[in-house]
Symmetry: C2
Amino acid sequence: MGRAVIGIDVGGTKVRAVMVEVATNEVVDREVSSSSDDGPTLVDTLANLVVGLGDRTGHEVAAVGLGVAGLAHRSGVVHYSPNLPGLGGFPIGPELQEALGVPVVVGNDATAGTFAEWRLGAGQDADNFAMVTLGTGIGTGFVVDGRLLRGASGFAGESGHMVVDVDGPAHRTGQRGPWEYFASGTALDRLGREAAASGEFPWGVAEAGAVDAVASQHVAAGAAEEEEDALRILDGFCREVGQGLANLVLVLDLELVVIGGGLCGIGEPLRAGVEHWLLELLLGSEYRPAVRVVLAELGAEAGALGAALIATEVL
Amino acid sequence: MGRAVIGIDVGGTKVRAVMVEVATNEVVDREVSSSSDDGPTLVDTLANLVVGLGDRTGHEVAAVGLGVAGLAHRSGVVHYSPNLPGLGGFPIGPELQEALGVPVVVGNDATAGTFAEWRLGAGQDADNFAMVTLGTGIGTGFVVDGRLLRGASGFAGESGHMVVDVDGPAHRTGQRGPWEYFASGTALDRLGREAAASGEFPWGVAEAGAVDAVASQHVAAGAAEEEEDALRILDGFCREVGQGLANLVLVLDLELVVIGGGLCGIGEPLRAGVEHWLLELLLGSEYRPAVRVVLAELGAEAGALGAALIATEVL
């Protein structure tokens, strides 16, 4: 049994760990446990998870990587995590390192997922790309000029909060008109429900059983059957995704966008729609090499996997 | 006489060259000539400029760097330049290299200016900063994780075109509500004139002689004398600058913003106002290290100087 690293995606309700063999970059084991936003409790949970995986596989655990939503500082202190509010200010990295006696690297979950898609997934052929995770919110991470972007504190990629409509609707963050309001999975839920309420998505209402029950999965199901209302709703949503991506391409000059998160299940209609609107809305796209849009390949494990791969960098 | 590089800022009406001694990074000579958007004419102009500087100083010219506004491809082909429309598609880099027999490196002018402020100016102590040039439009360049960002084609930093108000006013680019519409020097001209037209800037009208003659310099002059209307107009403008900067900090996690361009002459009221609004509008700023805003140090020569410094990288 050789050396391994463990990557852990630290979510609000559960923590998801993968063990990656250093020599091969292969996942050799995985485990899920419940999460906590009490710092010492979380350290115990994570330490037990790591020790348990080591015992079970016989691998020596050489380092651990954590991926945390929100502002996870390079130093290992979580400054703010929307999913783990009680963790704010807690030095999860140093504490876990103290408990385990091996290096612990802390980063943002979307940044970690980006690294995984770059090394093993849909971004393998790109030196300049964004990974965009469409879920409750929008997570983003970037590779530019052949390097993972981290920023001053490791907080790069909070692009979901980028304001695209300064006089727009108020978002739960208190901002008006951030990209996430218009283009997250939550936004597609809302678009579906609004269409249902105004009588413009009867197929979805029939499928969901009630107007209020209509959500993104009904738009997805309708689009899969080429139902016209669902396709129109999805097209409007893809425009919102493309609008924010056009901003990011202007800032960073990306050649590729990898779309991840739960909405990925919509598949080709989502990919093609986002690509269409990105090129349509991108200023000067006729003078630029075309930006490609592809679907993520690594699924829900990307964050944990990326955290593991980043941890190998300290070895 | 030792080796030197020449950096040239290729503008719409003039080209501005500086000669930098390789051993010392000191500017040893400078020259200005008229520009042209006819490719072959421009090559002749630039070649004459370079040869003339070499002859005059006795330095051996080892490489040349060009900074061009717009989409200047890494390969040396200008894909699109708003100031030099006829140059679109012209391989200015390879053609000048052929004419001179020394390496010619082509990049964006704002990216070059950023590099200069990083190496010799206001960004020297920062690994993560944006240089933002407020002029006719907005130019931006970035250093992140201790490296100059270039992007897939070298087009990174077109942030002035980032849309911040999707339903906003139409800009000359055809977009609605790009940051540049609200926060460039042109925008401050407009804010001053609009205030004048609605009777809210009589000081400026008196200074300018007529409502239609009011422009950013009258806002600047008023602010310098702490004239109340001018300070209010400037404050609104600083808010617009800060709004776009907040987006960029969310995306890139910058620790510092360097403000350059003609509006820099406003000085401390501009710097302090932008810093105030950036921190005010930046989501989660209470959880982040404070982002500092400073004024650029290298003035109008930054682009040429940066082009020269970038050219030294090929030696």
